[in-house]
Symmetry: C2
C-alpha cells in the first residue's frame, strides 16, 4: 500500500466492518507476508543491524537461490511492506513501518489492549 493509504486506511481497528475496498487493500499486504520465506525475510530485514539488509545479508539464512530470494523481496516491495534503495552494487531493503503499523492496528479487536513494543 502507498504511504497515504497506510496512514488513512485503518483507524477503525475492527470496531466497524471493513469495506470491500479496505479489505482488498489490506489483504494484499497479509497475502504478501502469508508465506513463510517472505515473513522470515521481513523479520531478518527488520532485525538486521541498522534496520536494513541487502540480498547478500539474507541468502545465508535459506537454502534458496539468490533469484528466488529476490523474487520474494519483490513481492514484499510491491505490497508496500519493504522498500529498497540501490547503493553501489546492492539494493538495501528496509521495512516500511507505516504499512506494518496500519495492518497491525487492524488486527487489534475492540476492547483488546494492543501489545506494546
Amino acid at each position: 500500500m502507498s504511504k497515504q493509504e497506510a496512514e488513512a486506511c485503518c483507524s477503525p481497528v475492527m470496531r466497524e466492518p471493513l469495506s470491500a475496498e479496505q479489505s482488498a487493500e489490506l489483504a494484499r499486504v497479509f497475502k504478501a507476508i502469508g508465506e513463510p520465506v517472505r515473513l522470515r525475510l521481513l523479520s531478518l530485514i527488520a532485525s538486521h543491524a541498522g534496520g536494513e539488509a541487502c540480498v547478500c545479508d539474507l541468502t545465508g539464512a535459506f537454502e534458496l537461490s539468490g533469484p528466488t530470494i529476490s523474487h520474494h523481496l519483490k513481492v514484499l516491495r510491491e505490497a508496500g511492506v519493504i522498500e529498497g534503495e540501490r547503493r553501489g552494487t546492492w539494493i538495501y531493503y528496509r521495512v516500511r513501518p507505516e504499512t506494518l503499523r496500519a495492518v497491525s492496528s487492524v488486527l487489534v479487536p475492540a476492547g483488546v489492549e494492543a501489545v506494546t513494543a
Copy 2:
C-alpha cells in the same frame, strides 16, 4: 494456531529473526486473512453486536453463496483466527483475540510504538 502457540510464539516482535518454524506458523494465519472476503468476514464478526455472528448475519454483506462463506469461515477457524460454537440451528463465530494479538505483535518493528486500542 493453538492458544498455547499464540501466547508463546511472538514476544520477539521482529527484534530478532523469526525461526523457520515460527515463520511457518505465523504465515499460516496471515495467509488465512490475506484474502479479501476472509478479512472482511473477520471484521464483520469482530465488530458484530456481542462479538459473535452466525452465517445468517454474514451472508447479506456479500454476493456469495452460504457454502462459499462457510468455506471461508472454515479456513479462518482452521488457522485459529476464529472459533465457532453451535447453538441450536446455527454456529456462532467469534474472534480469538489471542491469535490476533500474537500476529499483530509480530508486525510491530523495534523502535516503533504499537497502536493502542
